[in-house]
């Protein structure tokens, strides 16, 4: 092709490929690509499908453990829990669609992640959502929040999978590019088989099941691989429309055909639809496909073969079936009101042939598209520790001087600190009748029916720490949720991550990416908790402005039973309140940006040290007499204590002596500092000796860990040294009214 022609330039733009990639394609094909091949390469070589900017770094992730059965490369990671139980889980982003069209964007994000789970044969048992919104006052933000929450609820509630945990952040860096990451966990009960996407068996049929193919989502994958400009609304036609009722039928029918062993291999049609599913299944299986695109069930008969290949219509699966079993398979789908259509067969020669009404459009080696995508070593710098100061210097400007009670009130009413009940009340948290802890707790817990054990799920990544320092932020994205699990007695088994970053072609974005992965890796290695699934979402950039680097994580932990789990709030008066802490790293807490002089930190942290501390926290939380545990996070100890008074109206008196052990430089700002890491533990007074003995017995595993007795629980109020005394009713009022103050029309 003439590279100077206007036609060539316009093709590169349409298909979002660059000239170097075009040269690579010509080299691989040993000729110019034809029209349909342009479309295929565009989709499969998009950042979204090929991970071309991240692959060189993802290879270094800690991903080994004896429990891991499947990892990256399949639809989701699979972990062996022992006792015949296994789980599949993954988190995935749907950021760009959720900004353009919040309801459908978020809904189809839930639908997509659920398909990744049940396509492997696991029944979805839990959902979790990690959301980052802009400031409440930002353009469209109220309607985006409303739409995203309704979309998640509308889909998850209908398919009947409980939402058991979540995290919601607000910051101006998401004003023009919100994040919507959905995680799903599925369970294989004893005896149930794991299904893979590797196509097998020459002569087997390629079968299409689920919804008909429409024009929605054509070019969706390449849309998601581009930054937003001023014309984001014009991208609305690339958004898919979901139907959770169809998904529910697909879940039940797919699990039924799997149980009857009628399926050889199966993959959902996600990003880049039929193209990615067929080429990946063929490439992984080392076999060829002959596909008749005109046999694909269509919603619109005027669709072109390119539309059919790239449509991202939802609720569709591609599977391989032995011809003799097709009738039985088809009967199951019919019972559930779905059609199974034979659209091709498995061939010996490893090529994918695409046919359309008697014409062969292309015959191409799937590896060229799946395995030979470019891999970029994008420029980055190794970042030095950032924002370090010699001594603490932030002050609570915002509260207008030394008034700790006023400051705490502001934290509880702030959009970042206030109750999320508006959100979680719209999600079914109990369908499945296995939920033991819901979104009101720091960890979501479902009970495993066969073994009676507890599975804990918690999300991580705190953008305010990421803004401080990308390596510490990455470390925290594993360590903080692992601590939350540990405080309820769970051992972290494995991790899924969703790496939301800006434009990877910018050096500072790539540097943050590399630093964050390094931090995550350190803690994962120390905890022996491998990262087994996830995705990368680059180009979270609008009008040249990048989001806070946000590597969200989903951690899954295991515990022997659902009994005797500590609560996250004070349960009775006259218990002793302890602090378990790891000295070494301090920040001004989440509110430093509005109170102080910008992000500041003192100290440093190592993954190994943090991992050891988490292990000690886990053992201590199972000690005799432990009734309540809570990590001290954003807004510091005052905020954590305030949260522990709800909903029981049991507060605490924290004495000055105890406070001084935690905060030698004691003034009112010390109540709002954040230290990595600390947790409150409330213990029955009668078991104090046993509890302290338990700490002595485990502390050698984390020699720097400290345990201090700082106060006791009381009925009805919270008192912290001489700094504040507030009625629990007042705390509750502030916490519960903050949401409507920020979003007047969402009450």
């Amino acid at each position: 092709m003439n590279k100077t022609s206007a036609e060539f330039k316009s093709k590169l733009k349409t298909y979002r490929l660059n000239e170097g990639e075009y040269d690579m394609i010509c080299g691989l094909l040993k000729r110019d690509p034809n029209n349909i091949e342009w479309a295929l390469f565009s989709a499969l070589w998009s950042e979204h499908c090929s991970y071309k900017s991240s692959k060189v770094h993802l290879k270094k992730l800690f991903n080994k453990s004896s429990r891991v059965l499947e990892s990256f490369g399949e639809n989701a990671g699979v972990v062996d829990l022992g006792d015949g139980e296994r789980i599949a889980f993954k988190i995935e982003s749907h950021n760009h669609p959720s900004y353009i069209e919040p309801y459908q964007g978020a809904a189809t994000g839930v639908g997509g992640i659920l398909r990744d789970i049940f396509t492997m044969g696991a029944r979805p048992i839990a959902l979790a959502d990690y959301l980052c919104f802009g400031q409440p006052s930002a353009h469209r933000m109220t309607s985006i929040v409303d739409g995203v929450v309704r979309g998640i609820g509308g889909y998850g509630n209908c398919v009947g999978v409980p939402t058991i945990t979540g995290q919601t952040e607000f910051d101006k860096s998401y004003d023009g590019n919100v994040l919507c990451n959905a995680m799903a966990v599925g369970l294989f009960r004893p005896g149930e088989k794991v299904f893979l996407s590797k196509a097998k068996g020459v002569g087997n049929w390629v079968v299409y099941v689920g919804a008909k193919t429409g024009r929605d989502g054509v070019h969706g994958a390449s849309m998601a691989s581009e930054s937003f400009g001023a014309d984001s609304a014009a991208k609305r036609p690339t958004i898919q429309i979901g139907d959770p009722f169809f998904e529910k039928l697909l879940i039940e029918s797919c699990l039924e055909v799997m149980k009857q062993d009628l399926v050889v291999a199966i993959q959902d049609m996600g990003a880049a639809g039929l193209t990615s599913s067929s080429f990946e299944m063929s490439s992984k299986g080392g076999v060829g496909f002959k596909i008749h695109l005109d046999q694909v069930p269509l919603r619109d008969s005027s669709m072109t073969p390119e539309d059919v290949l790239l449509s991202e219509s939802q609720e569709r699966m591609l599977l391989i079936c032995e011809p003799s079993k097709f009738e039985a398979l088809s009967a199951v789908f019919q019972k559930w009101g779905l059609d199974a259509a034979r659209i091709g067969e498995v061939t010996e020669k490893k090529t994918v042939e695409l046919h359309w009404k008697g014409e062969k459009l292309t015959e191409i080696d799937p590896d060229l598209l799946v395995e030979n995508a470019p891999q970029y070593q994008r420029p980055f710098k190794v970042l030095p520790p950032q924002n370090r100061v010699a001594r603490r210097e932030w002050t609570s400007k915002r509260a207008g001087g030394a008034n700790a009670a006023k400051c705490l009130d502001l934290c509880l009413r702030d959009v970042r600190g206030t109750s999320r009940k508006f959100i979680y009340r719209q999600y079914d948290s109990r369908v499945g009748a296995a939920t033991a802890r819901d979104t009101s707790d720091s960890v979501g817990v479902v009970r495993l029916k066969d073994s009676g054990r507890a599975l804990g799920v918690v999300l991580g990544c705190r953008p305010h720490i990421m803004r401080l320092d990308a390596r510490i932020g990455g470390l925290d994205a594993i360590a903080y949720p692992a601590l939350e699990l540990a405080l309820k007695g769970f051992e972290t088994l494995a991790v899924t991550d969703c790496l939301n970053f800006g434009n990877p072609e910018k050096e500072n974005v790539m540097s943050d990416f590399v630093a964050a992965l390094d931090g995550m890796n350190q803690v994962c290695a120390s905890l022996e908790a491998p990262i087994i699934s996830g995705n990368v979402s680059f180009y979270n950039e609008t009008m040249g402005k990048n989001i806070t680097p946000t590597p969200s994580t989903g951690l899954v932990g295991l515990r022997d039973s659902v009994e005797n789990m500590p609560e996250s709030f004070f349960t009775a008066p006259d218990q002793l309140v302890y602090v378990l802490r790891l000295p070494g790293f301090m920040t001004g807490g989440a509110d430093q940006e509005s109170w102080g002089t910008g992000p500041q930190a003192i100290g440093d942290l190592e993954g190994r040290v943090v991992g050891d501390f988490v292990r000690v926290a886990r053992r201590l939380s199972q000690a005799p007499g432990v009734r309540a545990t809570r990590a001290i996070g954003k807004f510091g100890l005052a905020y954590a204590l305030a949260r522990m008074t709800m909903p029981s109206d049991i507060g605490a008196v924290i004495d000055t002596e105890g406070l001084k052990m935690m905060r030698p430089e004691l003034d009112e700002t010390a109540l709002f500092e954040e230290h990595l890491y600390e947790a409150f533990i409330a213990v029955d007074a009668s078991r104090a000796v046993d509890f302290e003995d338990a700490f002595s017995a485990v502390r050698q595993a984390s020699p720097t860990a400290e345990l201090h007795r700082v106060g006791r629980t009381v009925q009805g109020s919270l008192e912290i040294g001489a700094f504040l005394k507030v009625d629990s009713a007042q705390l509750k009022e502030s916490y519960n009214s903050g949401w409507s103050q920020n979003f007047e029309s969402l009450a």
Partner: protein, 210 residues
């Protein structure tokens, strides 16, 4: 005799109800929406919650016209105890087996929460103990509506089964559950199958399955 559990496309509390019945020592048996069944073969029938037919048209409207509902009607006429939960309540209203209708919540949003209930009239088979109960709710169309005349009749005939202590959805007269005139068909919006063990948050659901 077995307890029939109905399954429509989109029912999603079916397995939960099935397991609750098993846990209570009953013999549950699946009944498929597309098939009529012998209404004499079951000691009771359960219509679980969910989104039958994706709530298309109106919640419960399509399921109410499924072939299996002909058999449910026969069983109801014969006096077999029938319990509807959440979407099952919506289906029984749409089928005309219970009075009133369930429409979109006040506030127009889905509500997931725990509610406190008081029993107004006891039911001979389900939750015989009556009194009070704390159970989870999870619904978008849970606002019970009924004409004033009909409400008066419900009160006079003792057909009001459960009332909310604090009305979450705008239901008329705080109604959370009702019975038919013969008192064999009953339904409620809250989910007793989600309150069977202390670890679930409460055990007040147990009485509905015993």
């Amino acid at each position: 005799m077995s307890v029939g559990v109905l399954r429509f496309p989109g029912t999603n509390c079916d397995r939960d109800v099935f397991e609750a019945l098993e846990g209570a020592g009953r013999k549950p048996e699946w009944l498929w929406h597309a098939d009529q069944f012998d209404s004499r073969k079951h000691e009771a029938l359960f219509l679980p919650g969910g989104f039958s037919y994706g709530d298309y048209l109106r919640s419960g409207a399509l399921a109410a016209r499924a072939p299996a509902m002909k058999s449910v009607r026969e069983a109801a006429e014969r006096g077999v105890p029938v319990l509807g939960i959440c979407n099952g309540f919506q289906i029984l209203c749409e089928a005309g087996l219970l009075p009133g209708a369930l429409v979109r919540n006040r506030g127009l949003r889905f509500i997931d929460d725990w509610v406190s209930l008081r029993s107004v009239n006891k039911h001979a088979q389900f939750a015989r103990a009556g009194g009070s109960a704390r159970l989870p709710i999870a619904h978008a169309d849970g606002r019970f509506v009924v004409s004033d005349d009909e409400l008066k009749k419900l009160q006079d005939r003792g057909q009001i089964w459960w009332q909310y202590e604090s009305n979450p959805n705008g239901a008329a007269h705080d109604i959370a559950g009702v019975m038919n005139e013969k008192k064999n068909v009953a339904a409620l919006m809250p989910h007793p199958e989600r309150a069977m063990h202390a670890w679930m948050g409460g055990t007040d659901g147990v009485g509905f399955f015993e």
